[in-house]
């Protein structure tokens, strides 16, 4: 009896560790940006290229920054949730279009000059929004992905919850499911809006 007790305990511990470890999502990398001020950028707006958007424009409000792109498949998955959120006007939603052209593997960037990149990206992004619905108060165009790097974007879609003081309070990587929205994001929005 005693002879088998310790190996048995060891085995149970190993199984428990594996059960926990293997069920963790390796994509869930904790962002060091949570609790830090949202990195600054100033990027042209979709549909109004002469106007720019900067996160500091949103100071005093709780808002969501959603990183998306027309080539991103999971963005389509979360889109209905975002459209629903925009309809209810619970929280302002700003879009950050991430590498509309350069991120799309199907586009040969050698054949696109900078001027036509802007035009093409606008067309594609606007086309996608008119097809699937536009939940964004506005979308900033991050053509080269520089702003994305400052935000630690590594897999679109990503969503940041930013408080009134401009501090990132939450980051969600991957599509927002209705559960995540109502269970994780909404309660925090309510708390921060107080």
């Amino acid at each position: 009896m005693n002879k088998f007790l310790w190996p048995l305990i060891g085995f149970v511990v190993l199984v428990a560790l594996l059960a926990v470890g293997l069920n963790l999502n390796p994509r869930d990398v904790p962002s060091p940006l949570v609790g830090k001020p949202a990195p600054a950028f100033s990027l042209p707006q979709l549909g109004a290229p002469d106007r720019t958007f900067s996160p500091k424009d949103m100071l005093g409000q709780v808002w969501l920054l959603n990183v998306w792109s027309s080539w991103c498949v999971s963005c389509r998955q979360e889109h209905p949730v975002l459209v629903g959120l925009a309809k209810r006007k619970t929280v302002p939603l700003i879009g950050l279009n991430y590498k509309e052209l350069r991120g799309d593997g199907g586009v040969d960037m050698d054949k696109v000059d900078p001027a036509s990149e802007k035009v093409l990206a606008e067309q594609r992004a606007a086309g996608w929004l008119s097809k699937h619905g536009d939940p964004y108060a506005l979308t900033a165009m991050d053509l080269d992905g520089r702003a994305g790097i400052d935000y630690g974007v590594y897999g679109v879609p990503e969503t940041y919850l930013i408080d009134k003081a401009g501090v990132i309070r939450m980051k969600h990587t991957g599509p927002i499911s209705p559960d995540i929205f109502s269970g994780k994001i909404l309660p925090m929005v309510g708390e921060l809006s107080k």
């Binding site: 990398v29 060091p32 940006l33 350069r102 790097i149 630690g152 590594y154 897999g155």
Partner: protein, 158 residues
Amino acid sequence: MKRWLTIFALALGALQPGGLQAKEAAPRAENELTEKRLIAISSELRCLVCQNESLAGSNAELAQDLRREIRSLINDNKSDSEIMEFMVSRYGDFVRYRPPLKGTTLLLWFGPALLFAVALVALVRYLRRRDKALKDAPLSAEEQRQADDLLQAKKGQP
């Protein structure tokens, strides 16, 4: 036969100067130092898209962007630790293949040594106990008789 032809064709290709490596991005001579540093730094960093590849080896879109970013930081005369800091402040300690030594990583760093020490102590204790058990167990009268019989039988054999 077909296999030999393939091997022959491959060998022929290898003989051509630069034939097979034509697509490999060779470090440009004028900033060889930059490229060397870029490779050294990016080998220490994890590509977040394909997590088991280093930033140096990954072909993912993001990895290319980040290498470009690191290259420009090198050209701005930033030190290696400043560049590391740039990456860690955006993507967290997770991007480093060698996580820093701090409270939350103590177990990660010393866990294996700890496990080894525990195993070593257990082994020593087990061996001692066994040794003692062997020494302290004299044969019973019956066992002694059996042993003598066996030894006798052995002697009787040619």
